[in-house]
Symmetry: C2
Subunit: 194 residues, 2 copies
């Protein structure tokens, strides 16, 4: 029985939808990025402004010149990451939960009875999915957003953890929603969890 | 209904065992690396010696100095890769098959009704598994072999395809055999294939 399910996902691949459906079917508590941030803010001294400024970012020089590391901003970044980590752990300790985003698979890697899932999808499918969710935005803008959000997630992942975003070895299960369908993804996750 | 199942795998993760069990349960034809090579040799002028020399290798300078590319050996490498590609396609065209190894997921990416699977596993599990299969070999040697074979596979993959070994986006389904167990992996694949 898997008491904790974490879902990491590409932008637009349907990870949140799958996570919500899994939580509903199993009667589990659902926690997404916004709820993690809210909980982290409540238990720390970080302001909403600071959060929006640093959310899912890494110090400017990361990947270009570690020696030029932005020491001024580092403490706030770390504080932000730590606060989110604590928020995730607090929920995981109670069990029976689905947690979407924020490298919860790495934060909870020492927890037993956890199932770590990654949701990927073809670019075409993600584009259609996102067009349905934001019909007023142009295809070009959506494609750019897809690229930049996943790039930020990958950077955030490799900066704060010793893992790589979307690499199979760091998850128990990776599913391509565009090929399997949302419903089948939910079925597979629930079946393994039981 | 998935008529073609390809399985890519880390060394020692149980990919061949899973593939064989899936083929047996679904009544599919099973083709592994050795059978691909045999078929490729039969339909080409490549000798067994040439095969063993170049198998799962890339030209020496790959990744170090593309400009120093080993032109002399390139044709044989390409010929070897092409012959294996044709062998994989020949089997896939008949359908109802499980193909393990040799980047079959990329070779067959245009084929409909294909399910592309990657099998990963914890290092500890792979070591235990391989110790069972080759009890006379020391742990150290097995660990070195694991590292070098997967490194060669990753290099072979990125040299001959525009994909990355073990990255979720290039497969429909990635399973961690050490967490899910061989039997569950077989169940999930067969369930999706049906």
């Amino acid at each position: 029985m898997k008491k904790i399910i974490t879902i990491s996902r590409e932008f637009g691949a349907g990870g949140a939808k799958i996570g919500k459906a899994v939580a509903e079917r199993l009667g589990y508590y659902y926690m997404d990025k916004d709820m993690i941030i809210k909980s982290a803010m409540e238990s720390s001294s970080i302001t909403a402004d600071e959060f929006s400024k640093w959310d899912e970012k890494v110090p400017h020089n990361f990947g270009f010149g570690q020696s030029l590391f932005d020491f001024y901003n580092k403490p706030l970044n770390e504080k932000l990451f730590e606060a989110q980590k604590e928020a995730i752990k607090k929920v995981a300790e109670k069990g029976n939960c689905v947690i979407v985003g924020r490298n919860a698979n790495v934060v909870l890697k020492e927890f037993d009875a956890a199932l770590h899932v990654f949701i990927t999808s073809s670019t075409y499918w993600k584009l259609q999915n996102l067009k349905g969710l934001m019909p007023e935005v142009s295809e070009e803008k959506i494609l750019n957003q897809m690229k930049s959000i996943d790039k930020a997630r990958a950077k955030y992942c490799s900066y704060y953890t010793d893992t790589e975003f979307g690499k199979a070895e760091f998850y128990d299960l990776c599913l391509k929603s565009s090929d399997l369908g949302i419903e089948k993804c939910v079925d597979i996750i629930c079946d393994i969890a039981k």
